[in-house]
Every structure is written in structure tokens, then in C-alpha cells.
């Protein structure tokens, strides 16, 4: 396929990547993103090497300043001696499969400070992303990056889920009632561990904070994977204001998770979500294959056909 790294096996790439070769890291991420056998092999090789990195998800509406905030946050971390990495997810065009991945424009400060940034396209919403992102996080964790930040646009269930599968989930909103309502609709309220009111130098910032508080009062915060009432932080990412506060709150959240059982619960949830995504993917593939083999259906209702094929798939044993 392509170029210098292609000749190496996943294991060789991983050894080089863990030795600090950035191109090998990038190559592993490419293979994970493509899926298939190589991706499975990398998952196998990295799974036991992970668990160190604090995984932070950052999501919010388009235009909320997520990238600028992610840049400011990771720049601060890098300057403080940490080794942050970012996986920035942007949508693929549903028509052509292509994508314009523009997050690096706003993350230039971070890249100059040495942060490893990888842009990732959704490549269709068919669950590929839900497999690729955990795989990429695993590679970066195994290569010693900490924290690993996943940044996604908070529209679309898959994007929200991907960011939500983190130890600490940050939801970014901007001043203006509309944004908070939008966040509520997109289901972002339920997944947030903390909220950022970004662009806090604009009029309406305190209103946004109050709106969020009101909505949180009305939202039942429960369930095994999220337990605490989210903190609200105000930032003006373009000026770097409030970013230190945000980092402190993120670190506190992590510390609380580590001290208690929170982290284990979180990660069990995350693993379950990944298994679920993988299962959906495998069953989807099997369904497609069974349907293709069945050919045109005559003399059966759709329900009967589906049940018959499901029985065949489920009886088929090991799916690989």
C-alpha cells in the first residue's frame, strides 16, 4: 500500500512507536482506523499496555470553540511537562466519503508546544468510528501519552458517544440560551462531567451558567457511569482565560475517580460500550452477508425472513 512503514508488522511498529518514533505511532493509528485484521492485531498487542492515560472527552456544538479550548488546555499540559495527545474527529461527507479535517488550524499553538494531534474522519456513521476511536486511544496510551483528549462535534449520537466514552467528559457551550437548549436536545447534558461556558467574555455568559444550573436541577443525574453533579467552568479560550481553572477541575475529577471506585466503573462502562460497538459491527456484517446469500425473498413476510436469517446467524457459532 504505501511507503516506508508498510513493511513492518504491527508488533514491530508498536515497538518503534513505544520507542518514540512518531511516524510509527501515526502509522498504527492509520491501521487502527482502517479496521480489519491489522487493527485487531494492534488491539491485541496494546490492550494490556493501557490504562495509564487519563482519557478526556471534549464535545459541544459547532462553533463553541472546542478546538481552541482543546489547544489551550493541551498547550498548558505540554508546558507543564505532560505528554498530551489529541484525537480530533470531524465528519466525512456522506456523499463522497471525503472529509475536510480543519482542527489543526486552531490547534497550532498545541502542535508547536509538542502535542501529538491526529485528525480523524467519521468515515460513515456505521459504527466504524466507535471502533476506531477506542483503538486510537489505546495506541496513544500504550505509547505513553497522558492525557489523551478526544474532541468531537457534539451532533450525532456516535460523536457524542465517542467523546462520552472517556474518564472525564467535558461539554462546551457558549453564551446564549440557544446553545444550552441545543446541548440539552443532543443529550449532552446527561453525559457531562463538567461544563465549560466558553467565550465567557461575551454578553450572556452568566445567563448561560444559570440556564445550565436550572437544567441540571431538572435532570436526574443517576446511573452507574455518572454520579456527580457537573461543575461549571467559564473560559475565554482565545485569550487563555479560565483554562487553568478548567485544568484544575479536570484534574480534581480524575483524582476523585482514582480515589474511589469511579475509574473502574467508568472503564468497565467504556469497555462494555466498545464491546457493544464491536458486537453491532460483527452482527451487522453477518446480517449483510446472510441477506446477500439469501437472495430475493418470496412467499415470506419481512418479519419471517428476518427471524429465519437471525436464527441462521446466531446458530453459526464463532464469528470472526
Amino acid at each position: 500500500m504505501h511507503r516506508a512503514t508498510e513493511g513492518r508488522t504491527p508488533a514491530e511498529l508498536l515497538a518503534a512507536a513505544r520507542g518514540g518514533e512518531r511516524r510509527a505511532i501515526a502509522r498504527l493509528l492509520t491501521l487502527v482506523e482502517r479496521g480489519g485484521g491489522a487493527a485487531d492485531a494492534i488491539t491485541g498487542a496494546t490492550h494490556r499496555l493501557t490504562g495509564t492515560a487519563h482519557v478526556v472527552g471534549i464535545t459541544g456544538a459547532p462553533g463553541s470553540g472546542k478546538s481552541t479550548l482543546t489547544s489551550a488546555l493541551t498547550t498548558l499540559l505540554a508546558e507543564g511537562g505532560r505528554r498530551p495527545a489529541v484525537v480530533a474527529v470531524d465528519p466525512s461527507s456522506p456523499l463522497t466519503g471525503g472529509a475536510i479535517l480543519g482542527d489543526r488550524v486552531r490547534m497550532e499553538a498545541a502542535t508547536v508546544a509538542g502535542v501529538f494531534v491526529r485528525s480523524m474522519a467519521t468515515r460513515g456513521h456505521g459504527g466504524g468510528l466507535a471502533l476506531a476511536v477506542p483503538g486510537a486511544v489505546r495506541v496513544l496510551d500504550a505509547c505513553g501519552f497522558d492525557p489523551v483528549v478526544i474532541e468531537t462535534v457534539g451532533v450525532g449520537q456516535v460523536e457524542v458517544d465517542v467523546a462520552a466514552a472517556a474518564d472525564t467528559v467535558v461539554v462546551v457551550v457558549t453564551p446564549g440560551w440557544g446553545d444550552a437548549v441545543q446541548a440539552n436536545k443532543a443529550g449532552l447534558l446527561e453525559v457531562a462531567d463538567l461544563f465549560v461556558v466558553n467565550k465567557a467574555d461575551r454578553p450572556g455568559a452568566s445567563d448561560a451558567r444559570r440556564d445550565l444550573d436550572l437544567m441540571l436541577d431538572l435532570t436526574e443525574v443517576s446511573g452507574a457511569c455518572s454520579a456527580r453533579r457537573p461543575t461549571i467552568v467559564e473560559t475565554t479560550a482565545t485569550k487563555g482565560e479560565g483554562v487553568e481553572d478548567l485544568l484544575a477541575v479536570i484534574n480534581t475529577h480524575h483524582a476523585v475517580l482514582v480515589e474511589g471506585t469511579g475509574l473502574e466503573v467508568r472503564r468497565a462502562c467504556r469497555l462494555a460500550a466498545e464491546v457493544r460497538a464491536r458486537l453491532d459491527h460483527l452482527l451487522g456484517e453477518a446480517a449483510g452477508q446472510a441477506l446477500a446469500e439469501a437472495g430475493p425473498v418470496v412467499g415470506e413476510t419481512p418479519v419471517e425472513t428476518a427471524r429465519r436469517l437471525a436464527g441462521r446467524i446466531l446458530g453459526a457459532g464463532d464469528t470472526r
Partner: protein, 525 residues
């Protein structure tokens, strides 16, 4: 000028035809002067700049000798971006696409042996505009011409930089403060100077439609009016000196309609919304440049025809001054020969075609009047949107549109749509997607600026740095920083002091960046 005119066949023609409102009458749709070009031709202002200040000085003198009536300065990319020629990011760009100016010494060389009291000078500069204006004033005064006698135009239109040309230095709000500092300074001390040339040219070049160019440019004009009013100026104290700069593209009647609509909109908004009483505040004066983006690298000689027709649209639209592009500009900077043909094109229009004999000769044409109305209607839709976004302020609406990337998205969308039409063959570009035979033997007499210019300019800069009084520079820069941080202060006096000490453009910009911060665009692809 001769008062009476005849056609080539000897038929006498009147200065104007049709019913009112006539040219020179509100709302000035038909032109801002009653006599238009019969009284005075447009200014043939040719944009030039390359290499070192001496190189460009030579081109200026050549243009004045061959009948040009105004100077227009193109600065190189490092100067436009407020970086010195020895800045690491300047590598490969010093003197390449304009003239390099680092200090007041370069400005002095640029205008050596040119009587600054006798010419009008346009300077295409935006982010560092106040610094370059300070240098021009310093050079003139060192040569004995006081600032009040200087006539010319500073582009100084920062809003369109965020929207289109991307040569911004600081965030929008402090940048607009610099614009209003210049407006205050020239209103008080330079009565013959145009402090802002509100420019649609670059918006169009970046890919907008004619309607978008019209709407965004006038909105920016309104924004500056609001910004200047907000710092306490009376609208009639500065509005007469605001000027505009439009593109003239290939769709002849659309362009003419655009120019006519621009005048009408400006007059009405200035009177009705901003309360202007001075008639001069209502009259939209504009410079026109033919569309660089329309020039083709294929069969470049065909560009001479394109430029002639676009220039004609500018004249029929009532422009006050005109730059005609050179046919070789899709490939490189204009060569001297190509620049001369471009100027001659204007002279043909002015002296041979007769179009200058009658004011607004197309006024009353059903198509042209409809086009004018239609473009006005489309512009008003944009103003409504911005007014809403800004909560009753066009200035705030423009800020919001910049911060959200709205302008850039609209422009990028139009650019891509045009590209697709050309690629699909739905829009013919002669020599590119049709009539392509005959493209052999390209001219290779291109003007090339080499690495030696860059090296020479760095050497000159190093000499100035060595010879100047370093402590005087530091003191002056510290004052610039203080004034920048003081709300309500006007930076111009401190900038004048700083450039006189031979502080460089880059040094002043860095001091200002420390106070104002820098800006990363909202990338809308």
C-alpha cells in the same frame, strides 16, 4: 477639457440624457458629479511595487512620465504582515510581490525625487497601515512638505482582511480602534487624505459574487461609520473622506449595476440612518481595479481584451479612479511592457471611445436599471441579517459574522460554485475550457525578483539597525505600548515618534501584539 463634444461623425452630444434625478443629484445613482468625465477624467492610478524601494521608485517615475496621474503602492508580503525583511517567516517573500519597507529610510527611497505635494499617493496596506502612514508623513515633513498638504489614500480596511484577504495582525476590535485612530488623525490634520478605502476588491477576488461584494463592502463601510461615531466624531467630520475600492469583473452590466447600486445605498444610509447632512458625506467615491482573478495563464494576450471590457464597466459605472491589470499577471508581477499596455487601454477608453462624453450613458436602460435595483435588494437582505445579528448595530453584526466564519463560508461557497461551473463547462472561460487552441509559445519576459533583492534588503535593514540610536528607539516603542494600552488615546503621535527614530515596522507590530494579542481565523473551508 472641451465643453462641447461631437461623435466621430460630427454629431454634437449633450453632457447628459434622460430625466432626473440626474448625475450629481441625490441619491447619486447616476454619478456623484453633474459633468462626470466631461469635466475631468478619472485618475489613471496604476498599482506598482516590487523589489527594493529604489526599484519601485524607478517604476513610479516611469508611470508618471507616461501619463499616469497618481501613484499606488504595492507592498511585499512581509510588510503587509508587519514583519521585517529579516524575520524567519519572511524568507522567500521579501520584495517578491511588492516593495519591501522596513523603516522610514525605505519610505524615503520609495518617493525620492517625487514631489509629494503634487502627486496623490495610494498605499495598499491594512494591518500596519497607521505605521506606514506615519512613515509617509515623516518622509514628507523631512522633505519640507507639511502633512496638511498631503493627498492620497490609505487602504486601512481591516474588516475585509478577516473576511477575505487574511492580512490581519491583531484581533478585530483593537484593529478597528487603529482604523479609527487614523480617521481621527487625518480628520484633524490631513484634510486631503482618505483614511480608509473600504474595499470590496479582495472580497471579490477571494471568490464572492458581485452581490456579496456590494453587500459586504458597504456593510464594512457602515461599520467604520459606527466605529468612528463611537469614538466621538461627527459623521460629517470624517464621512466625506471615506472612499471605496471595487472590483470590476467580466459580467459587464452586472458590474455597472453594482457601482450604481453602491452609490444609491450609501447615500440613503448615510442620510437616513447615520444622519449625515454634508452632501459630500453622501457621495460614494470609488477606485476600481479590473479582476485579477479573471486573468488566465492560458493565452495571456487574451487578458488584454478582458481588462479593456472590465475597465469599460468601471467607467460606465462612474469610477473616480482606475487600475487596469496587466495581461501577464496570472503568471508573475507585471512587466513594464505589460503595465504600459494596461495604461494605454485606459487612455483608449478615455480618448477614443467617446464614453467619457456623456454622464451615465446607460441610465434609463431597462436592463441596467433593473440590475441596479436587484443588486440593491440583495444587499439590503444582507444588511438586515447583520443588523439582526448585531442587535441593531452593523459593526457588531460584522464582528459576529467574522467570529462565526459566516462571511468566509459565504465567499468560499461562491468560489467553489464558480469553479464547478467552469469545470462542468457550464461557464465558458475562453482559452481555458473552450477555444483552447493556440496556447503555444508563452511569453517568458516575466518580471522576476530574485534572492539577491532579499539579501540586499536584509543588508540595508541591518545597516539602519546599526546606525540608529537604540535607546531612542526603545523609549519610543515603550510609549507606543503605553498609548496602545490606554483606551481613548490616539496612537498616531506615538507612531510618528517611533518611526522617526528608525524603529522598524516589525518592532512596532510586536509591541502592539503584546498589548492587543494576535488572531487565529475561524477556518471555514
Amino acid at each position: 477639457m472641451h465643453p462641447d463634444r461631437r461623435t466621430l461623425s460630427g454629431i454634437p452630444v449633450d453632457p447628459v440624457y434622460g430625466a432626473g434625478p440626474l448625475p450629481g443629484e441625490y441619491p447619486y445613482t447616476r454619478g456623484i458629479h453633474a459633468g462626470m468625465y466631461r469635466d475631468r477624467h478619472w485618475t489613471m492610478r496604476m498599482f506598482a511595487g516590487f523589489g527594493t524601494a529604489e526599484d519601485t521608485n524607478g517604476r513610479f517615475k516611469e508611470l508618471l512620465r507616461s501619463g499616469g496621474t497618481g501613484l499606488s503602492t504595492a507592498f511585499d508580503m512581509p510588510t503587509l504582515m508587519g514583519r521585517d525583511s529579516d524575520h524567519p517567516l519572511a524568507i522567500g517573500e521579501v520584495g517578491r510581490a511588492g516593495v519591501a519597507v522596513d523603516t522610514v529610510e525605505d519610505m524615503a527611497d520609495l518617493f525620492a525625487d517625487i514631489d509629494l505635494a503634487a502627486v496623490t499617493t495610494s498605499m495598499t496596506i491594512n494591518g500596519p497601515a497607521p505605521i506606514l502612514l506615519a512613515m509617509y508623513v515623516a518622509v514628507a515633513e523631512e522633505g519640507g512638505v507639511e502633512r496638511g498638504r498631503l493627498a492620497g489614500t490609505l487602504q486601512n480596511d481591516i474588516l475585509k482582511e478577516y473576511q477575505a484577504q487574511k492580512e490581519y495582525l491583531f484581533p478585530p476590535r483593537p484593529s478597528v480602534r487603529l482604523v479609527t485612530d487614523v480617521i481621527r488623525f487625518t480628520a484633524a490634520e490631513m484634510p486631503r487624505w482618505n483614511p480608509v478605502s473600504v474595499s470590496g476588491y479582495h472580497i471579490r477576488e477571494a471568490g464572492s459574487t458581485a452581490a456579496q461584494e456590494l453587500a459586504f463592502t458597504l456593510a464594512n463601510g457602515f461599520a467604520y461609520v459606527e466605529a468612528a461615531a463611537a469614538v466621538g466624531l461627527d459623521v460629517d467630520d470624517f464621512a466625506p473622506r471615506l472612499s471605496f475600492f471595487f472590483n470590476s469583473h467580466s459580467d459587464l452590466f452586472e458590474e455597472i449595476g453594482k457601482f450604481r447600486a453602491a452609490r444609491r445605498i450609501w447615500a440613503r444610509w448615510m442620510r437616513e440612518r447615520y444622519g449625515a447632512r454634508d452632501e459630500r458625506s453622501l457621495k460614494l467615491r470609488f477606485h476600481t481595479q479590473t479582476a485579477g482573478v479573471s486573468l488566465t495563464a492560458q493565452q495571456p494576450e487574451v487578458n488584454i481584451a478582458r481588462v479593456a471590457l472590465q475597465a469599460l464597466a468601471g467607467v460606465l459605472g462612474g469610477t473616480q479612479s482606475l487600475h487596469t491589470d496587466s495581461y501577464d499577471e496570472a503568471l508573475a508581477l507585471p512587466s513594464q511592457e505589460a503595465a504600459r499596455i494596461a495604461l494605454r487601454t485606459q487612455q483608449v477608453i478615455a480618448h477614443e471611445t467617446g464614453v467619457a462624453d456623456v454622464a451615465d450613458p446607460l441610465g434609463g436602460s431597462a436592463y441596467v436599471e433593473w440590475m441596479t435595483d436587484e443588486l440593491e435588494r440583495r444587499a439590503e437582505e444582507v444588511f438586515d441579517r447583520l443588523d439582526d445579528e448585531g442587535g441593531g448595530s452593523i459593526l457588531e453584526g460584522v464582528y459576529a459574522g467574522i467570529e462565526s466564519g459566516w462571511f468566509m463560508g459565504e465567499i468560499a461557497e461562491s468560489a467553489y460554485r464558480f469553479e464547478r461551473e467552469v469545470n462542468a463547462g457550464d461557464r465558458v472561460v475562453v482559452g481555458v475550457n473552450a477555444f483552447t487552441e493556440g496556447d503555444e509559445g508563452r511569453s517568458s519576459r516575466l518580471l522576476r525578483i530574485g534572492q539577491d533583492t532579499e539579501d540586499l534588503q536584509r543588508k540595508r535593514l541591518a545597516e539602519v539597525r546599526l546606525e540608529r540610536d537604540g535607546s531612542a528607539v526603545r523609549t519610543a516603542l515603550a510609549r507606543v505600548a503605553d498609548e496602545a494600552g490606554r483606551p481613548g488615546a490616539n496612537l498616531m503621535p506615538a507612531l510618528l515618534d517611533a518611526v522617526r527614530t528608525r524603529a522598524t515596522v516589525g518592532e512596532v507590530v510586536e509591541v502592539l501584539e503584546d498589548v492587543f494579542g494576535t488572531y487565529v481565523e475561524t477556518a471555514v473551508v
